[in-house]
């Protein structure tokens, strides 16, 4: 091998840099996030295991049905009817976004853009709140 005296130390340095994060976190456990579930309500739209794995699919399907197909009622597998609305139905029970949605999303580093437009109705008091009338113009 030509230039082995440069290549081999170079490779070693490269491996050290690449493997350092694995070495650094080895043996440490990052605790799994514990989202705070609503206390007043026992049952979600669908069974817990399904919601945990596929809530994003259900929200995606709801969005298309509501916006594009004029359907606003979801009949779940248990036969119960739900208003298909993130802001008005999901957040009615899951009323603390920071302690429910954000905990897992932050842990996994996902940034859903739902919150660019939808907001927590119970946070409404913290937002500017002045009815539009002729006088306020």
């Amino acid at each position: 091998m030509y230039d082995a005296d440069k290549i081999i130390p170079g490779l070693i340095v490269f491996l050290i840099i690449v493997l350092f994060p694995y070495y650094y976190t080895m043996g440490r456990m990052v605790p799994a996030p514990k989202p705070i579930k609503p206390t007043k309500y026992k049952k979600c739209v669908e069974p817990l295991s399904y919601m945990r794995a596929a809530h994003m699919d259900i929200l995606d399907a709801w969005r298309d049905e509501v916006v594009r197909h004029e359907k606003r009622v979801y009949v779940s597998s248990t036969g119960k009817e739900w208003d298909m609305s993130l802001q008005n139905e999901c957040l009615r029970c899951h009323d603390n976004k920071a302690k429910f949605c954000d905990r897992c999303h932050n842990y996994l580093g996902v940034k859903p853009y739902c919150w660019d437009c939808h907001f927590e109705p119970n946070k409404i008091k913290e937002l500017p709140h002045k009815m539009m009338t002729k006088e306020t113009m």
Binding site: Y50, R63, R68, M132
Partner: protein
């Protein structure tokens, strides 16, 4: 000697059949299906084949030219931001003078009753909407009941629709609208920076059995909402009795906002 044509076709056919039979192909052909659930229309939903509106301009003007109750009701209902800079303006329903709203009539001798008077303007929910034709993502589309709807999730902010709309009904969110909203309605979302928005004919109210908010807000009942397809609807009855005009008919967009004069 390789594979004969007959053998090759047999093998290809068999492979395709096998491929289609697997779960992967099933997922490819019918993506995004959520298990078990069923989607229904609300029982209370207003059912119509062609929603439209008529504005009784006489009644509207008689209530005072500075009345803006319908406009404010819309702003309060839909979290529409208010800007001082007119370049950033977002409007779903607004006012403009006859000479601008109906500039195509080119009639300098219009009755003084209307000439310099404000008319209530909004998206015309055209039968042939140019905004829908140009939208590259189908974010804006025409519902079967005639409402030209916009899917904010799908809008990429290219603004083709703004260039296409001859009525100036569309506005672009140059800034994050949140800090500029004067009154938050907790039931309705806001928009984000970088999307186009317009009047969506209160389809969120129609789908649960309510009339558009401007219709309910008008204190003198000057806005008449109804189904053009139903000959007995209030809207059709008033259109039979009164002479009405529409904006920019020569463009062939077939607008569904009627102005009774």
């Amino acid at each position: 000697m390789g594979v004969s044509r007959r053998e090759f076709l047999k093998l290809a056919g068999l492979t395709a059949a096998l491929g289609l039979g697997t779960g992967t192909a099933f997922e490819l052909l019918a993506p995004g299906q959520v298990e078990a659930g069923e989607y229904l229309r609300s029982e209370n939903a207003l059912r119509g084949k062609r929603w439209a509106m008529a504005f009784d301009v006489k009644k509207c003007l008689a209530n005072g030219e500075d009345c803006r109750i319908c406009i404010d009701a819309c702003i309060n209902e839909h979290n529409i931001p208010q800007y001082d800079n007119p370049l950033h303006e977002i409007k779903w329903i607004w006012k403009d003078l006859y000479k601008y709203a109906f500039e195509d009539t080119e009639n300098p001798y219009v009755s003084d009753d209307y000439k310099d008077k404000p008319f209530i303007l909004l998206c015309n929910h055209c039968d042939e909407p140019p905004c829908v034709r140009v939208c590259p993502t189908q974010a804006t589309f025409r519902r079967p009941d005639g409402i030209v709807m916009q899917d904010m999730h799908r809008c990429i902010g290219c603004r083709f629709c703004m260039a296409a709309c001859p009525y100036g009904s569309r506005n672009f969110n140059w800034l994050d609208p949140r800090p500029h909203i004067v009154h938050y309605n907790p039931k309705y979302p806001t928009r984000r920076r970088g999307v186009v928005e317009k009047c969506i004919f209160c389809n969120e109210r129609i789908d649960v059995g309510k009339k558009p908010v401007c219709v309910d807000a008008c204190p003198v009942g000057a806005i008449i909402f109804g189904d053009l397809h139903d000959p007995n609807s209030e809207l059709r009855q008033v259109l039979r009795k009164r002479f009405s005009i529409r904006r920019k008919l020569e463009l062939g967009t077939k607008p569904s906002m009627f102005y009774l004069i």
